[in-house]
Symmetry: C2
Subunit: 220 residues, 2 copies
C-alpha cells in the first residue's frame, strides 16, 4: 500500500515510464540502481525521480540506491497490473484488428476476448484467433463474461452510442480511439488515444523547428 494515497495525476502519468525502465533493467539482470543512473535513462532529473518515488514508500537507500525488483513490483501494484483484465473491441477496422492482435497487451494482463461489428461480412469470422460477433450481442456478452474494458475503434459518428451500450452493460472502462469526447457516468473510466491529435502536435512541432531554423539562418 503506497504511503500517500493522494498521488498527483502528473506523477501517475510518469509511472508507466518507470515501470518500463525497471522492467528493462530486470531483463538485463540489473537489481540495484541509483536515482542518478535512472535519470540518465529516463531523462527526468535525479531529484524529480527521488520525489516521484518517495510517494510510494522508502525504496531508495542512501549509498545503496533503489532495489529494482521491489520498486518494479510496487509500481505494478499501484498501476493495477498485478491482475488480469478482460476486454472486447468494438469496430473491426484496421485499427481494431491491430489492437486485438497486439500480443504485447496480453503479456501485460489485458486479454481481448472478442470483437464486435455491424458488418455481416465480418460477423462469424475468427480474425487471428479472435471471434467477431454481431454488435447486437455486445450487451449479453459483456454481462456473461464479466468484461471490464471496452475498446472503441468505430467511426466517430457511432462512438457515443457504442459507449452508451458498453456503460449500460456494466463495463468499467473504455479505451477510446474515436476522435470524440465521450460522455459517460462518473464511475466509468475513459482513456482516450486520439491519434489525430498526436499527429497535429507533431505537425506543430515540425513547423516550430522550421521557424526556429529560419530565424537562426537569418542571424548568421
Amino acid at each position: 500500500m503506497p504511503k500517500n494515497r493522494n498521488i498527483s495525476m502528473a506523477v501517475i502519468r510518469r509511472l508507466p515510464k518507470y515501470n518500463r525502465c525497471l522492467g528493462d533493467l530486470l531483463e538485463r539482470e540489473i537489481y540495484r540502481i541509483s536515482s542518478k543512473e535512472l535519470s540518465g535513462i529516463l531523462g527526468f532529473t535525479a531529484s524529480q525521480i527521488r520525489q516521484d518515488l518517495n510517494n510510494f514508500g522508502g525504496f531508495g537507500q542512501q549509498g545503496y540506491g533503489y532495489n529494482v525488483e521491489e520498486l518494479h513490483n510496487e509500481i505494478q501494484k499501484i498501476l493495477g497490473l498485478t491482475k488480469d483484465y478482460k476486454a472486447v473491441v468494438v469496430g473491426v477496422g484496421n485499427l481494431g484488428q491491430a489492437i486485438a492482435n497486439h500480443t504485447n497487451f496480453e503479456k501485460h494482463g489485458f486479454k481481448i476476448l472478442a470483437m464486435f461489428d455491424i458488418n455481416p461480412n465480418l460477423i462469424g469470422l475468427q480474425i487471428r484467433g479472435t471471434p467477431v460477433y454481431d454488435n447486437k450481442e455486445l450487451h449479453g456478452y459483456i454481462k456473461e463474461n464479466d468484461v471490464e474494458i471496452g475498446v472503441i475503434t468505430t467511426p466517430k459518428e457511432v462512438a457515443q452510442s457504442v459507449a452508451d451500450e458498453l456503460v449500460e452493460a456494466g463495463i468499467k472502462a473504455i479505451w477510446n480511439f474515436a476522435p470524440v469526447d465521450l460522455k459517460v457516468p462518473e464511475d466509468v473510466v475513459v482513456e482516450d488515444v486520439h491519434l489525430n491529435e498526436s499527429l497535429f502536435i507533431m505537425s506543430y512541432l515540425i513547423k516550430e523547428k522550421e521557424m526556429l531554423k529560419a530565424l537562426e539562418d537569418q542571424e548568421k
Copy 2:
C-alpha cells in the same frame, strides 16, 4: 501570424481539441459561437477558453462570440495543417498497416507514400495501395521523395536503429509507436504514441475507482 510566439505547450496540446470542435461546428454550419457554448462542448471553463484563444489574436468579440471559420483557419495555421506532409511507415505489422490505411490522416494532409520492412514475404507487396519496400531502400527513398515524417511501428529492439537511419536520411519528424524513448538530434521532432502507457493509466484509474467505491460502500 499569432500575436504571441511564446505559447505554452499546455495550450498547444489543447489546440487539436479546439480544431476538432470548430471543424465539427463548421460541418453543422454553425459560424458563430460564444466561449460559454464552447465550454459546454469542450468541457474547459469559458475563462480558460478565452485565455487560450487570446494567444492567437482577437477573434472573440464582446456580445458576438467567436467567428468559427476564422478561428478554425487560424488554429489550422498554427498547427501547421495548411500544408501537406509526406510520410513512410517502417514496420509492416498490424499497427503499421492500420496507420498506412487510416484514410483520416490523408484527409488532414498526411500522405503515407510507402511502407518498409525486412520480411522478404512482405517486400514487393502492395497493401491496400501502399507499396512495401525493403528497409535497405529506406535511406534512398526518403532522400529522393523528400519524405518529412517517419512512422516507427517496429519491435522495440530495432526502433532506435530505425530512428538513426531516418535521421541520417534527413527526416524532420518521427511518429514513434515503439515503447522506447528515442534519442535523436535536437532538430528532429519525436512524437510518441505509447499504447502500453495509455493502457496502464487506464488500469490505474480502474483500480482507483474500485477503491473509492469500496470506501463509499463501507461508509454506508
